[in-house]
């Protein structure tokens, strides 16, 4: 099973360490594999369960992201993670 959703980073500081931690913590609760694709000027991919890779993505505010999941709970994973991003990680 696969699922995918496009979101835009909208919190002021972008994917800084704390939002990354929240994202990875949530992603790790799912059994599905989760990939994050960064669009924009410098496209890149990261493992949604890896703190390091997500930090290196360096996604600033306004960056389009695509969350891809593959596995049993893919749909639920994508839904919740997209919500997290859209809720600005409860930061702003």
């Amino acid at each position: 099973m696969t699922a995918s959703k496009e979101v835009v980073i909208s919190n002021t500081h972008g994917l800084h360490t704390r939002p990354v931690m929240k994202f990875v913590d949530m992603a790790s609760q799912f059994t599905s594999e989760i990939k994050v694709h960064k669009g924009g000027a410098e496209p890149a991919d990261a493992d949604g369960k890896s703190v390091m890779q997500m930090i290196i993505l360096a996604a600033e505010a306004g960056t389009p992201l695509r969350i891809d999941a593959e596995g049993e709970d893919a749909a639920e994973a994508v839904k919740q993670l997209a919500q997290l991003v859209e809720s600005k990680f409860d930061e702003d």
């Binding site: 360490t17 704390r18 990354v20 931690m21 369960k49 890896s50 703190v51 930090i55």
Partner: protein, 580 residues
């Protein structure tokens, strides 16, 4: 490719691989393990990660209690990184594929991530690299425990890049594999400089931020002659330096054939060649270069190389006894403490001196601190029965100073006698001639000492009133200045007339340009840095005393240093074309 300019403190050129010592001084050598042991290394890595997580959790609770949750959040990131599967997988893969130790794999993978972090344009994120360093250090500490990997375990040739080498680090140095040094800090008298000269390897110091700019594994050229360091040189530069390296090896090969030949002119006059040393370990290198003894042992390095405190009498004694053991009967001229007017003493002074070079330095300082002076003299006298020891007082400017210094020495002898400790009562006593007043009064001094040694560096500085470390006037510093040459000539003559030995131990003695001149002025004893000996010897062996005398007569008729240098260059080229 990047070129950095520093201070060349030990000559020579080397092309090699960099090993950067980080602030923690942890050097993680590339160590391989047999294929069967990689699983053990992976297990060690997992254990190190587990304990790191436990440590951080404890730290975190502590910080929450003291500073609140916000501040402690950073530790959650650390734990998050330590649990990062992609990080763990990469380290495991590194261990298994490259068959390396867990610590080397950790340092490789963390460095990879650090570089990715540093590339990010977001300042805040790229600064997180500090967190990576923190985590790396924690892991390495857990892996290494108390067992510090040090420079004693190198398995290939390297150059060491460090902030400033500590005595404790160089003590354990694997000298067969270390081929050069480059440091952020330091000057001519830094510990790094001393060790490099003693080892006869090139070193450049005072490079500012070199530990940040070089990565372990980079190819580095260190040019100790010109004080230049090149990071990842291009092909052209590599070729150029390899070529000059080759020429140097050929030249050294030719000079090596002279090693066990005497410093004798074509018409059979002997010239003795001795070495200047700074630490006992420098003796082996000097003898390898053909030194017939030590003409100048700069004992202040006993002070400079310490991490704290002053050396005790035993520290002095141990160094002198060690030197004599290495010299096996060859002479050792020990110069008493010549500190002052340097960072070491100035930083310890209550108020800095306004004019340190004309201030409380050298013998003056010793005579102001008799207990310290006596500690050194006692050690020298105790060692005096174990070899050919001679004692030399530096920076003497009046007869009174010499007499006072001798009085302190006789005091020490009396004490030793009372204590029933053996020593050599008729130990030869000499002075450095490095202040113009002493040179001009040489006749009087000659009656009260057994030998003179001309310290040209200070003699030039004081005669020409030039501080050669001041870039704006350094160009005025020149051994060929006729005023300096007159003083040198007169001191040599007065020594001959009074039948006492005269040597030159300043840098002038090791410069091939002045060999003919000094010989022609009657000098029969040169003391110089070990690496300079072969070339000077070659010149001595290629000429006659008669020719040298003609050259000296001609030189003394000139009235400008330019003329002197030009003429000496021409004359030296005639007999040794490859000299310059």
């Amino acid at each position: 490719m990047e070129i950095k300019k520093g201070i060349g403190v030990s000559p020579g050129v080397v092309i090699s691989t960099a090993v950067v010592l980080d602030a923690e001084d942890l050097l993680i050598p590339e160590r391989h393990v047999p294929a069967g042991r990689t699983t053990d290394e992976v297990t060690r890595f997992h254990q190190a990660v587990e304990s790191a997580i436990t440590e951080i959790a404890a730290l975190r609770d502590d910080v929450i209690a003291k500073a609140g949750k916000e501040i402690a959040a950073i530790f959650d990131v650390h734990v998050g990184i330590l649990k990062d599967k992609s990080l763990i997988k990469q380290v495991e893969a590194e261990i298994t594929r490259q068959q390396t130790t867990a610590e080397f794999a950790v340092s490789v993978v963390m460095r990879r991530y650090s570089q990715a972090f540093l590339k990010m344009s977001d300042r805040y994120l790229s600064e997180r690299v500090k967190d990576l360093h923190d985590i790396e250090r924690r892991l390495l500490h857990n892996l290494i425990g108390q067992k510090h990997y040090d420079l004693a375990h190198l398995n290939r040739d390297v150059v060491i890049i460090a902030h400033d080498l500590l005595p404790s680090q160089t003590a354990a140095l694997d000298r067969t594999h270390v081929k050069g040094f480059a440091t952020d800090a330091g000057g001519r008298t830094s510990h790094t400089a001393i060790v490099a000269r003693a080892m006869g390897i090139p070193a450049v110091v005072g490079l500012g931020d070199i530990t940040r700019e070089v990565n372990s594994g980079d190819t580095i050229i260190i040019d100790g002659h010109h004080g230049v360091l090149i990071i990842n040189p291009d092909e052209e530069q590599l070729a150029e330096h390899r070529e000059s390296e080759k020429r140097r090896v050929v030249m050294e090969g030719q000079l090596a054939t002279l090693l066990h030949m005497p410093g004798r002119t074509l018409d059979g006059h002997e010239v003795a060649l001795m070495a200047n040393i700074e630490v006992p370990e420098g003796i082996d290198e000097a003898i390898d270069r053909g030194a017939q003894g030590v003409g100048l042992y700069r004992t202040e390095f006993l002070y400079l190389t310490r991490e704290s405190g002053e050396p005790s009498e035993e520290d002095h004694y141990a160094a002198y006894a060690e030197s004599l053991r290495r010299l096996k009967g060859k002479p050792l001229v020990i110069r008493t403490l010549d500190l002052g007017a340097d960072k070491y003493t100035q930083s310890r002074q209550a108020s800095p001196e306004r004019n340190p070079f004309l201030g409380d330095r050298s013998i003056r300082m010793c005579l102001h601190d008799i207990p310290m002076f006596k500690r050194q003299l006692r050690a020298i006298m105790r060692a005096s029965t174990q070899g050919d020891v001679r004692i030399m007082f530096p920076m003497i400017s009046t007869l009174m100073e010499l007499r006072q210094a001798k009085m302190v020495l006789y005091d020490v002898m009396e004490d030793l006698e009372d204590e029933g400790i053996e020593f050599r009562r008729d130990i030869p006593i000499g002075i450095m001639i490095e202040v113009p007043s002493a040179a001009l009064m040489a006749d009087s001094f000659a009656k009260e000492v057994n030998f003179f040694s001309i310290g040209t560096n200070d003699l030039i500085q004081y005669t020409l009133a030039v501080d050669r470390t001041n870039e704006k006037v350094a160009g005025l510093f020149c051994p060929a200045h006729p005023a300096v040459l007159k003083l040198v000539r007169d001191v040599i003559r007065i020594g001959q007339r009074n039948n006492i030995s005269v040597s030159v131990c300043g840098e002038m003695a090791g410069e091939p340009l002045y060999t003919l001149l000094l010989m022609g002025l009657g000098l029969t004893l040169f003391s110089m840095n070990g690496p300079d000996i072969p070339e000077v010897k070659k010149i001595i062996r290629s000429t006659t005393l008669e020719h040298a005398k003609q050259v000296a007569r001609r030189v003394m008729s000139f009235d400008s240093e330019r003329q002197v240098m030009h003429f000496l260059r021409e004359e030296t080229r005639k007999i040794v074309p490859e000299a310059f």
